[in-house]
């Protein structure tokens, strides 16, 4: 029986991951912001077979509470095997560039919050000498574009942080999985026109669970984003800076 902590459990991708673990009878500790949504997710994963489900409503931007949250989760489940960090927000780029507080807010909810959690979790897992830490980042972190560089910068920073953490924890047998989804059809992207490149949360969740099991390092989902981003990263900056992007 796996003991799984999910932060940002109301996100579509995280909820789909929770379902997969529930099918296998896992014990789940779900942290999210909205209580009624958490309750709906809780009922669902219970019916699907989760052996234990605990839900806690918390705003994860509030880093002061992180230490207690993690300790309580570990106590409730009698230890932790897997942690998935899934919370974050996209923001509207035009609003962000007009406001310093909004911009810093996006950095806080997509980077600072995760850094705080990861610092605590890294120490926990390092002492335990086993376990998996998975974090949902984004292909947007691979290169800054004018349409979403604030979000992208937070995610890019997170990727670098994870890379260092992976390097540190590899000696302790703890895997650090950096999940980089491309476009995913979720409430977060409701206002976007969907095309061929869009993936469903269920698809992404399946890859996440497989990657955690296999202890992979950096995972693009769906797989073809690895090659798309390879091309995008290889465009020389003098050319890249003049380019326009559909979204």
């Amino acid at each position: 029986m796996k003991r799984v902590l999910i932060l940002g459990a109301n996100s579509a991708i995280a909820a789909a991951v929770a379902r997969i673990y529930a099918n296998d009878g896992a014990a789940l500790y779900l942290i999210g912001r909205d209580t009624s949504k958490l309750a709906a997710t809780e009922h669902d994963v219970k019916v699907r077979g989760a052996s234990i489900v605990v839900t806690i409503a918390a705003d994860l931007v509030d880093t002061a509470k992180h230490d207690d949250l993690i300790k309580e989760a570990a106590t409730a489940l009698g230890g932790l095997d897997v942690v998935l960090i899934a919370h974050g927000e996209l923001g509207i780029q035009s609003d962000l560039q007009a406001s310093v507080p909004k911009t810093l807010g996006i950095i806080a909810s997509n980077f600072l919050s995760q850094v705080s959690l990861l610092t605590l979790l890294a120490n926990y897992f390092e002492a335990q000498k086993s376990g998996s830490i998975a974090v949902i980042t984004s292909v947007a972190g691979d290169r800054g574009r004018k349409s979403n560089y604030v979000y992208g910068a937070a995610k890019g920073g997170l990727c670098v942080f994870l890379s260092g953490l992976r390097n540190r924890l590899s000696a302790s047998g703890v895997s650090v999985v950096d999940i980089r989804p491309g476009f995913v059809d979720t409430p977060m992207t409701a206002s976007y026109k969907k095309g061929l490149l869009w993936a469903k949360p269920d698809q992404v969740a399946k890859v996440i669970v497989e990657s955690i099991k296999a202890g992979r390092d950096i995972v693009y989902v769906p797989w073809f984003w690895r090659w798309i981003m390879l091309v995008i990263r290889s465009i020389p900056e003098w050319k890249f800076k003049r380019m326009n992007w559909p979204s």
Partner: protein, 442 residues
């Protein structure tokens, strides 16, 4: 974005807005804003325009796909309306439970099953899906929420069962499952030569078989008119521990129709050849076997997007029911018309309904015999044929199934659904569908 279609890909509607519901609160946030009319859209298995909304907003309910509770002891399940029957089977079959009533595809949502008060091969025993529903919750566009059952808000309950999704958004449904001991079905297939044999077989089978249905060769004429294969079955009684294994059998062998086939594929000669081969495939008069439940209930689910074989122009289905009193004659007349017009296709299904009255004001199922046939969209000639069939159905005091319809006239509708006026009072003021506009327009 891909345009939302109904299963028959008819009629073409102008682009409608689509709004994905992931949480119940999404609906409440939406109705606070002014806007066009609303209509829930699940898996789009309704054939015509009852799941479409010209110039309106479709509420995509597949995001409401959570289970709420499952009483494994008593077989009572409660789930959100966007959960599909396939997802329910996956959960409940390994625990020894089955759907109380299932249509010929498992790719429908629970909300859709309620809104169309669907029936299955066990109508003569268990009635329609609505009969298994204990309670449901409805949110109206004014934000009000009501739980409905046979006791609580019973009038809204009877309007919502078979209510075409027009009475408000169904958020969850609680219903009673059927106990099974095996994933297998004990099946018998019996060849019959004509309609009177069909009626005799139905009478004989209804006492001992939970499931009965017939395929008929709708292109056969004169002395062969109404010949076909009678399928009857029961859930196998021998307890098996392979409930799980049965599920695995289901997920194998999936094919998909990858693109629209040219209309030649449905040429009358090709259909005639298929029907002839299918009828004569079984040499013995009676074939007994044990089959997994999936191919028994859902033979067409193995071919994803099978509606594409009819090509871009789409297809119609005509499903009517006529009371037993006029049954034999009316069905014979309908089959002769179709056979004369040489327009039928290979999906022709005949089944008797039991005498359990449906609960919904707008439910289709009623005591009698029901016939369902697919027709390629060949334009005027097929529409004229339907008008002739409507004449026969109306004269026999029968009805036509709205879930399959893309063309019935307003006056036929009022004949077929005499309680429509009473039902109209329960329609949410912000809800409408292309179908509803078509048949209620004066």
């Amino acid at each position: 974005m891909t345009r939302l279609e109904s299963w028959g890909r008819l009629p073409r509607t102008s682009d409608s807005e689509a709004f994905s519901l992931h949480w119940q609160s999404d609906f409440l946030n939406l109705v606070r804003r002014k806007g066009t009319t609303l209509l829930p859209y699940g898996l789009g298995r309704s054939y015509g325009d009852s799941c479409l909304s010209d110039h309106g907003t479709l509420l995509l309910t597949r995001g409401l796909d959570r289970f709420i509770s499952f009483d494994v002891e008593n077989g009572i399940i409660r789930c959100e309306a966007g959960v599909s029957l396939a997802e329910i089977l996956k959960l409940v079959v390994p625990k020894g439970w089955f759907l109380p009533v299932t249509p010929g595809t498992k790719f429908v949502t629970v909300g859709g099953a309620v809104a169309n008060d669907v029936h299955g091969k066990n109508h003569h025993v268990d009635g329609t899906f609505g009969h298994a529903v204990c309670s449901l919750e409805l949110i109206r566009s004014d934000g009000s929420r009501r739980e409905c059952s046979r006791i609580q808000n019973h009038d809204v309950f009877y309007a919502t069962i078979g209510g075409l999704g027009l009475t408000g958004l169904i958020t969850w449904v609680e219903f009673k499952l059927k106990k099974i001991y095996s994933t297998k079905i004990d099946q018998e297939v019996i060849k019959f030569g004509g309609l009177s044999d069909f009626f005799a077989l139905s009478r004989e089978s209804e006492h001992n078989f939970d499931y009965t249905v017939s395929w008929i060769d709708c292109l056969a004429s004169r002395e062969n008119l109404g010949r076909g294969l009678f399928f009857r079955g029961n859930h196998a009684k021998t307890p098996t521990l392979d409930l799980q294994a049965g599920m695995n059998a289901e997920t194998r062998t999936k094919v998909r129709v990858p693109f629209d086939l040219p209309s030649l594929a449905m040429h009358p000669l090709a259909v005639k050849a298929f029907n002839l081969a299918y009828y004569h495939k079984q040499l013995a008069k009676n074939h007994v076997s044990q089959v997994p439940y999936d191919p028994f209930f859902y033979p067409l689910d193995a071919i994803h997007d099978w509606n594409r074989i009819y090509g871009k122009r789409g297809f119609f289905q005509y499903q009517c029911v006529v009371p037993f009193t006029s049954g034999t004659d009316a069905i014979r007349d309908i089959l002769s018309e179709i056979s004369k017009a040489k327009l039928g296709s290979f999906l022709a299904v005949l089944k008797t309904f039991g005498d359990k009255p449906s609960l919904g004001m707008m439910s289709f199922s009623r005591p009698g015999v029901t016939l369902a046939l697919d027709f390629a969209n060949t334009g005027d000639e097929v529409l004229k044929l339907f008008d002739r069939l409507d004449g026969i159905t109306t004269a026999a005091a029968g009805s036509v199934y709205i879930a399959k319809d893309a063309r019935m006239s307003a006056s036929s509708f009022r004949h077929y659904y005499p309680r429509w006026h009473e039902f109209a009072h329960f329609v949410d003021p912000r809800f409408s569908s292309s179908f509803w506009q078509r048949v209620t327009k004066l």
